[in-house]
Amino acid sequence: MIGARSRRILITGGNAGLGLALAKKLARRHSLLLSGRKSQNEVAGTLPPGAGYVVADQSDPEKSALALVRGIRDFGWDGLDNAVLNAGIGIAAVDGVDSAEAIRQTLDVNLLAAILQARALFPLLKKSSGTLTLIGSVAHKGSATIPAYAASKAGLHGFARALRSEWKGQVAVQVLHPGPAKTDIHEKAGYDPGRMRALFLAPDDIAAMMASAIASRRSPATLSWVRYLNGGAFTGRRL
């Protein structure tokens, strides 16, 4: 039964933003392995106590998938209850057009890495009848500010729809689309939301909605103001 026992949970991009907020929420009850681009030394002290960390740079999708599998084995896990493929970058388009470099980087990190990681993690997830969670974005329906980012998230949406059917009865697959959160993704992307930022949800609240959506295994789920105002951060299943 979900919520009754400690789960082995992998969170990519778990050293910052929503990934870290989710990790902090789950750290007390579950066993966590987080991944990120930064080195062990750089993240030391910032992660929740007890969580493992593996370096997996998503800008090389194939290597990142191998790094995760190796990291899980070295951590002593022989199965995986949850994989939350959350790592992602955004690069604001300059004058309306993404550069070739930005397009390639965004697709590699946000989409291709998740696809190859899902493939590599399949045996571990299958063994534990686990859940694969892909973190999309409300931008998956299109955005003129961040076209390549929107495209990468739309790709995750279509990927989840297909894979959820393919892996039915073996591994649950879902895609979650969080709304904008008060993380540093906008600053990193070179985009200033200005006063709009006041309307962004707190990372903790999004993380709470992510946790209950993961427990429910439903797909797709949009985690934004509508859900929040319906009590999404306080009610729902517990992971």
Partner: protein
Amino acid sequence: MKSGPRRALVTGGSAGLGAALVDWLLANGYEVVVLDRDRPWTGKTSVDFIRCDLASRTELDGVLPDLVSGGPYDLVFLNAGINATGKFEALDPRTHVEVLRVNTEAPMVIAAALFEAKACRAGAAMVFVASLSHFTGYPGAASYAASKDALAIYARSMRKYAASRGVSLTVAFPGPLKTDHAERYSPEGADGSKRMDPDRAASLILTDALAGKKTSIPGAGNRAFAVVGRMFPKPVTAMMRRLLYDRLKS
């Protein structure tokens, strides 16, 4: 006001839907630039041919200047695509990489380069060829579904910018076509008789593109499928699973 003959670019113009598009354009007096991995097998000599395997970033970067100087264009068809059907986890990782590179990354990079170099004339039309799979789940071709959904949304995201440059963006969602490509990737025993003739699909898509329509779903049956797929995602995805995934051998 027209200066010289109209020019068109077609990626993947050597076979399938692309070849049908090239035929239509040549018959209607366009000068055509074709980008493909292989020479046109129909032996078309009247096109400017640029050889490039879009799965390779270095090859694409190498021909981008030629693509730009081949303009300015009145019509751009980002049509090249490959498929990979099979159980997702059983397919080689390289296959998934190539599907994403050819179907998503390359057309995005080409479109961005053409916009930056102002290689489209005002009043031009640019067409992104996605897939009818956009309106359903597509078990048995998960990375392909991802690649085409990403492309469709990129086009949608770029529409406003393109309009500011006087370029209309059309996303085409063709259904199954009678092409070698479709036959190679459909399961054994699949009924090919209901597939659309590529010449017909090409002329329907061209009509929509020249009219500046946002989306083009060629064929009434395909349009009905798109509506039903949107309204009932679960049963339609289950049906797609029976049509493709359940018939896969491995």
